[in-house]
Symmetry: C2
Subunit: 97 residues, 2 copies
DNA sequence: TGACAATATGAACATATATTCATATAATAT
DNA sequence: ATATTATATGAATATATGTTCATATTGTCA
């Protein structure tokens, strides 16, 4: 394993930082199965609409989720299966601790 | 995939939070191959001894690294290969972005 | 024992970040 | 057109967190 350069280190830590917030993890968790609109995410994880929207923006900016618009609804979904893999890898670690 | 309960979510986000700092990622990065003493880590990643020591404590408390003492040196090493796996999974994601 | 080296730690400071609140924007329906 | 619904956003506030600086601790060696 060759060492990562400074830039990669930054990118990597930024990526993990996104996963390092419970609201965002909750969002990812409920998106594992299906896409959901903002209101449903808010209801399911019991976090205010505004807070969810703010966090969705962060998730979107870091390309962990994507969205599609339908009328005045916005449906969010996980961007790719790396998100799921990273998530599950973390779960494994926790379950063995 | 069944949904995680609140406690697991917290644990998971706390785990990722640890990876979400560039100094800690730098430390993990240089520990991928070999154990190292604090001074060597400090030198290699160019972060002060004190800052490294503080971060090593966080890594140790969250059980991502372990250590052994030898004289007045302390050698740190990665706790298990989950750490490496999570790290590499993150790298993959970055390299495809 | 005394000096030195390696590491750990506490307090202070600065910065980052998450939530709330109020409100803006945009689409729909009456 | 107006009211309503869904979502986004900006400012403010509160909290969390990382680094520095000074110093404590612990072990080694003369």
């Amino acid at each position: 394993m060759t060492l990562l350069d400074e830039d990669k280190i930054i990118d990597l830590s930024e990526l993990f930082k996104i996963f390092g917030d419970s609201t965002r993890v909750k969002i990812i968790n409920v998106l594992l199965d299906n896409e959901l609109c903002v209101g449903d995410i808010s209801d399911r994880i019991d976090v205010s609409q505004s807070a969810v929207s703010h966090q969705l923006r962060i998730l979107k900016d870091s390309k962990l989720v994507k969205f599609r618009k339908e009328g005045n609804m916005t449906y969010y979904y996980l961007a790719d299966d790396h998100v799921e893999k990273i998530f599950k890898m973390g779960c494994e670690h926790i379950n063995e601790a």
